[in-house]
Amino acid sequence: MTDRYDAIVVGAGHNGLVCSALLAKSGKQVLVLEANEQVGGAAITREFADGYSVSACAHLLYQLQPEVRKELNLSPTLSTDNMATIALAEDANHIRLSDGSVEGVSDEDAASYRAFRKRMTRFSDLLRKYLNKAPPRLGTRDFKDLATLGQLGFDIRRLGKEEMQEFLRLIGMNIHDELDERFESPLLKGAISLDSVLGTHLGPRSPNTIMTYLYRLAGDHGRVAAPQGGMGSVSEALAHAARIAGVTIRTNMRVKRIVIENGRATGVETDSGERLSSYTVISNADPKSTVMGLVGAKHVETGFTRRIHHLRSKGNAAKLHLALDGLPTFEGLSKKDFAERIVIAPDEHYVERAFNPAKYGEYSPQPVVEMTFPSFRDDSLAPTGKHVMSAVVQYAPYALKGGWNDDEKDAFEQAVINTIAKYAPDIEQRIMAGELLTPADIEREFHITGGHWHHGELTLDQFLFVRPVSGAAQYRMPVDGVYLCGAGTHPGGGVSGAAGRNAAKAILRREKAA
């Protein structure tokens, strides 16, 4: 073999692209191999019905990190920026949350919400600082690790005595108790609950849901945007930046395994049997499929295998895409509201009740829904006058009792449509085509074990120093030359690029030290 790349990245998800581009900018010769036809991983735009396209998995941009934008010279075109969240009420007295305030509730609630958001923003700013750093290793004498750890302690202390206590009290808590203490409006409590549990296997009464809420805010103060052309355009822009930096991207190349020789990576082997050579292999795949599939248990140790095996990574969020022959009618919404993010979570108990069946392997008969109508401001996605709806729906457990089949999928899809129809009775007549992606479908299409969009539950026991597990929390796997750069690593999922960027920095730093 003559060609040896400086690095091979397995998977052209957004993190893989960010990582490859940054490595290439440091002068590395980088090859990216993507199993699917399109780059982007779960951040793609895809036609699901003739003439109708939609962001196939991730559909809203929360947190593409400014560092990533700057370093890769990206400025994604947004069809809608700073979207408001409209929480639907059955009596059409909807509420609207935007820029840290809420309309449609009592004055007390409105004031409480402003105070709540102010405090949460303060805490999430603290988190945000650490999104873009490799988490420090514990129990080492490495100066950088100690400095980061010290800084973290100092930053928490610097909140002030009371706020520090509050931070430490809240970080492991459930959102329900906090909301119940602060607010009257069920709708407001429902909307915040939804933000705390979206994409997770957690209900508002589950511990840790304040942290997931903070994580959502940490990206960009909770600012939400829809990219023009769907999420695929962000990935395309990243791929473009990577190619400009000199990265070679090959699609339809599924990596079968990472070749390990004498305890170190020497390259990869694709499904077609092609061997490609590099001493640095970076996996954008989730930690489970990387270790158990690409690397193989025999190349890592038992304790490590066990931790990876026990990672909680079963997804619980489905995607529903509808092709509509016109916008549905929501009582109490004006036309321009279709540019916003519309949620169905009428109260916090509704959200918890929706979660209950998921604990026992059943889907929610009355699910929680986050809807967007991306075609409203973006005519590239649907024919003129027609529209698409892209919705995240919870809860649809990956391990459905008896497994997902067409009947179960149809029944769940109908449950979602019935739920939406309570607010927009004409939605069913508008549907021309639909597509439901359960976590099982997401696993199959995007090669994510468990179909979890964070590649692993985002909870305190799988966060920061221990994300995905101890022994691999600094992007480096316990096999020489193998790295992780996907959402399964710190800080987690969402189209942020943070994991990919942190991984690239860790690899370059490691190389410098060697």
């Binding site: 158990m292 038992t302 304790g303 295998t305």
Partner: protein, 398 residues
Amino acid sequence: MKSQPVHQGRLQTPFYSRLEKLDTVNEWHEWKGYSSADSLYCEDTEYFAIRNATAVFDLTPMTKYRISGPDALDYLNRLVTRDMAKVRPGRVAYAVWCDDQGQVIDDGTIFHLREGEYRLCSQERHFAWLQAAAIGFDVTVTHETEDVAALAVQGPTSFSVLNKMGLKGLEELKPFGLTHFDFQGTELMVSRTGFTADLGYELWIDPDKAEALWDALFEAGELFGIRAIGTHALELARIEAGFLAAYMEFLPADETVRTGRSRSPLELGLEWLVDFKKPNFNGRRALAEEKRNGSTWRLVKLDIEGNKPAHHSYIFENAKASKGHIGFITSAAWSPVCKQNIALGTVKTPHGKPGDTIWVEIYYQREMHWNRTMAKATVVDKPFWFPPRRGATPPGPY
């Protein structure tokens, strides 16, 4: 999985009916759920059966796992530190296994029964760890302690006893070899292994045939001084052999709570078992680092002056004990066969190199009053007892 009734109280091994008849002192202890005899009539007589005749020890409570499947070899090679590819069918390997930090979980023997089929034996139970180690491997791990009755038949006349019992061709079996015989229509496995560093064998059979085997063995051994023994006699032979015991020379790493209380194979004198040529095994990274940076502890075999066993003693650099202790004794005994005051201990490096002189603080009681003496000890590197007859093939007709 078939449900089984839960045993109440201590289990009895398939040899219990025979042991019970020979027992005169009624001293038993619990070994992994089973009743196991400390001694049956007289510890000293039992001990001398090991060294001068044939001793029979009921090994059934020893933990046994069957490991089979297409990935069995890969599995074991990742599990233990030595290279299992070199252990052919019909051979037995002493092995040690570690956690990811390179700390010893246990040691034991691995029997390569037939191509791709193994039995792992150890003092302690490790099913959870062996199951965790099986994640990602096409391998089956079965706990078979109860399904196999086992006897250790040890001592200079052990070959003669088994030969008389009719095991034809046993003389060709080399140390760490295993072979199969027919015993009354049942397969009897015989391995040339043991815990005594003497000529000796271990017999493995279906529990239904246990009593018949015992009877045949004792009938054949009558003129060769065969005796059943308990664990106290075996323990003395074990120390003479310089073998390690869990909870004595090391704590299983998964049982330790405090840092620094576990031991690595390098710290237990088992570097010869660690094959760094293997690209991966549990603990490899940590052990490679330990080898580069040096170990904290060293296992020592000590020849101590005087005749007072150094039970639980602290070890010092000099006779005045002026600098604080450098370690402690883990097993100690007066060895009747070596006529030596012997001990195993653990000391901080760089102390304890073979040939070094160190000092042991021995407390002993005389008519209620306690006395203290500082005894000079020499670090030796060979086992205290290692007679040529142990390895002789064919074995001598004692």
